[in-house]
Subunit: 222 residues, 2 copies
């Protein structure tokens, strides 16, 4: 493999892989995508060798060097291919971006999982409340800006827009619309989805519904 | 408050505050420490204003600007006061350091808490196994190096050495010694504790034992 070749080990349904694809597209980096079979299949030898601790996609292979964990991968991409920058130039603004990056990583996807893996109406409602309470903070910090760190699309936008690929699932099982509760977040999503990098990386919602339905059945949920 | 004045909102028992104090000492930055009353007291107005989302110490106040979350604070410190650097110069090595930083933040302290908050011998043993299984990875990546990223004390060392301030508690309640299982980690701890920055920031173990005993009682554990 060439020293500067870029490959991404991915999985079609992963919001974390979607993030990496968006970041590479924003930087104009060409790469080869290698898809793992599916959520339940055996993990490939290349994945196990590249990410022996977590054994998860996404993995970025830069030459023969593996970089893992989506937020870490995007930070690496931003350092190796600096233009256009995904983080603000000012150290304080960068610390704010990293704060929200961490907030999103710890909370949004796992809270959404509580909705679609709920067992019964009561669990759905409490998970939905928890999820919407998390989004209050993101709606607040976005405010009237076009993107999370100001005028330009950056790290925080990429991290959250990746996770929004699963919002259709959260909304279906929770019977709500994020945009009805948070119109500013709704407009921000539309703005992001107007970008070619996001459009090209998006995940098919019908396939997600089928996948989620199968996961629920496997776990004995109706 | 002066534009460049540095203050740290801290709490004496916090391994995360200890990290920030070590980083500032390594950089030779003078600061004022403002201690929150205790774990159970009311949080100060300054803390609530500075960290409205998580409402937790540590907070670094740089002039009137708050930076929160210890790993994020140390990254900020490294960017604002670049010498001596706490992260490697090479982007790939930096991505490795950030990977282990995240691994430590997600796993080590919470696994240790499982030991000292255990209810009964069986829980102690399973928590201890989980904790030691996490350290296998850290011992492996440290290997025969002096510090986690090579010859110089850096971000990963600071993050882990902060958490080792609580190892005395984990060891007491789990009836084991980390250094017996992982001599390389044991030698690394001694190496770190020979540094003035670490010595000056260390947490009194007898006070920790009293605190933990009180927390267990409050939670109905003997």
């Amino acid at each position: 493999m060439g020293k500067d070749e870029v490959k991404v080990l991915g999985m079609w349904a992963s919001p974390f892989c979607m993030r990496v694809k968006i970041a590479l597209a924003e930087k104009g980096v060409t790469y080869e995508e290698i898809l793992e079979n599916d959520l339940f299949g055996e993990k490939s030898a290349l994945l196990l060798k590249s990410n022996p601790v977590h054994k998860q996609v996404p993995v970025l292979l830069h030459g023969d060097k593996p970089v893992v964990e989506s937020t870490n991968i995007i930070t690496y991409i931003d350092e190796v291919w600096p233009s256009p920058p995904l983080l603000p130039a000012c150290a304080y603004e960068r610390s704010r971006a990293r704060f929200w990056a961490d907030f999103i990583d710890r909370k949004v996807f796992s809270a959404g999982r509580g909705i679609w893996m709920a067992n019964g109406e009561e669990q759905v409602e409490s998970s939905k409340t928890e999820f919407l309470d998390i989004l209050i903070y993101l709606d607040g910090t976005l405010g009237d800006k076009d993107y999370f760190t100001g005028d330009t699309f950056g790290l925080v936008d990429i991290l959250l827009i990746g996770v929004t690929s699963w919002f259709c699932v959260f909304e279906k099982y929770g019977n709500f619309k994020v945009a009805d509760h948070y119109p500013k977040l709704g407009a921000w999503m539309e703005r992001c989805y107007a970008r070619q990098s996001v459009l090209d990386a998006q995940i098919d919602s019908n396939n997600l519904f089928d996948l989620v339905s199968m996961i629920r059945q496997t776990n004995g949920l109706q």
